[in-house]
Amino acid sequence: MQDEVSLIRRAQERDQVALTQLYEENFDRIYRYIVLKIGDRTEAEDMTQQVFLNALKSISSYKFKGMPFSSWLYRIAHNQMVDYFRKKSKRLTVPLDESLPIPATDGDPKYLAEKKVEIEEVVMATKKLTAAQQEVISLRFAAELSITEVAGVMRRSEGAVKALQHSAIIALRKALAAE
């Protein structure tokens, strides 16, 4: 934690190496969180980029309060998505296209194709959940945050997040069964 505090401090002094390190460490996770929540690759890419540009603008005002730096980034991403959904009259229905990538851990094209379909099903099923349920699924499983960190981002108690997590998984199970 102390290392991260020093890193943030350097970043606040416009240290390019520190800023780049914070960017690299969080880029993929923020992208996954956003893409699972809005289910549109192009929009998710634009929004991910904007999260980091906004973070850059306001990093001098960041204050360490015991939570990881990523929690602050998720908070920025969360606020951006709230604005995004507010501006949209309805949820996006643009499906994830075939370019939705997964890591090439296996060279078998059949395996990769199957995984891609499974991921797409999860993303589509997640879109049927309530906003809060989507949030907890995205933060917990796409971004891999702990319950404490999710509670920090969502500004809810850990108990409330655990209850929400339970209901979200039940809802996701139903949505996947209906796919």
Binding site: V5, I8, L19, Y23, Y31, R41, F52, P101
Partner: protein, 322 residues
């Protein structure tokens, strides 16, 4: 705990294990009485985990990286420091005016009690500089440094209580500079700080920081039992609102004259100053160790750093008195 909450905790425990790579079967074996209920939920969670394998496209990653680097290049350089310099432009003349013409007036008192981040803090630091400028003897300067280090310790305590880690580190650096400046006054004819100007913050390895001694440096021929140490009180005012200036009440470092000695005739000015330094060192060390004890784990390294700086700085300053 009711059954629902109990189950939510068990589910969460299993999810934590699943995220770390444990198999579903292992979780079910851990909670056999909940296995039937848990299994479908954990299977769904495992499917949701597929989302963690999502990766941004390589071309997007490259484009975004270039944009980010470009944005870094376009950032105004060290904007915070510019603001500070701007503040100094008016803070120093104002501080000179306040020190010369209204000593003890409301603004000076309010500034003295201000905390890092508050609007008056710039005046507080500028006032300290002005006071040093108008202290003509080395002994007077040393007494001022002692008082300023007291302020820094009180600020560290308050910033740690508020969870403002960055300010704790910044105030520690400021305290380091002031302790070094005190050691550099060369009052006893011994200048120890020259080669050690960067001793404190850089020299403290994490191992050294964890071994914080609670003993004060010893001073030959001066029985520390002769000193009467006033018990300082550090008060924590209620959380500042937007309209309030956060304040902190720090113990006033006793003037040399207030150090009660059984036989002052036996002690020189330097020895009395040394007693004052030892007294304030012991007291500040006690305050910081107390804070360290109750601080959350994440905050301990910063406080250990502050303690290390205090110890080394004071030991150097005391040793410089001969």
């Amino acid at each position: 705990m009711d059954k629902g909450k109990d189950f939510e905790n068990i589910l969460n425990d299993c999810l934590d294990r699943l995220i770390k790579g444990e198999a579903i079967e292992s979780c079910l074996a851990r909670y056999p009485e909940y296995a039937i209920e848990l299994e479908p939920l954990l299977k769904t969670a495992l499917e949701a985990r597929l989302a963690a394998t999502l990766q941004p496209r390589a071309e997007f990653r490259q484009r975004a990286g270039i944009e980010f680097q470009k944005a870094i290049g376009e950032m105004p350089a060290k904007a915070i420091r510019h603001t500070f310099r701007w503040q100094l432009r008016w803070a120093i003349p104002l501080a000179v005016f306040l020190v010369l013409f209204s000593g003890g007036a409301g603004t000076v008192v309010a500034a003295t009690n201000s905390l890092p981040g508050s609007p008056l803090y710039g005046i507080k630091l500028a006032t300290e500089q002005v006071q040093l400028t108008f202290a003509f003897s080395a002994e007077s300067k040393a007494e001022l440094y002692v008082r300023f280090v007291d302020y820094r310790v009180a600020e560290i305590v308050r910033m740690a209580e508020e969870g403002d880690f960055l300010q704790v580190e910044q105030v520690t650096e400021r305290m380091n500079s002031q302790l070094l400046a005190m050691a550099d006054l060369n009052i006893g004819g011994i200048n120890l700080s020259g080669d050690m100007a960067t001793f404190a913050l850089e020299a403290l390895s994490p191992e050294e920081q964890t071994e914080t001694s609670t003993s004060a440096p010893t001073v030959a021929n001066v029985p520390t039992s002769l000193i009467t140490i006033p018990a300082p009180t550090v008060t924590s005012p209620p959380k500042a609102t937007e309209n309030q200036v956060p304040v902190i009440i720090v113990p006033q470092a006793p003037e040399r004259g207030s150090v009660i000695l059984e036989d002052t005739g036996m002690l020189s000015d330097i020895e009395i100053l040394k007693l004052l330094l030892i007294e304030r060192y012991e007291e500040n060390l006690r305050i910081l160790l107390e804070q360290l004890e109750q601080a959350p784990e994440a905050f301990k390294p910063a406080l250990q750093q502050a303690i290390g700086v205090l110890q080394l700085g004071y030991e150097l300053a005391i040793a410089s008195l001969g």
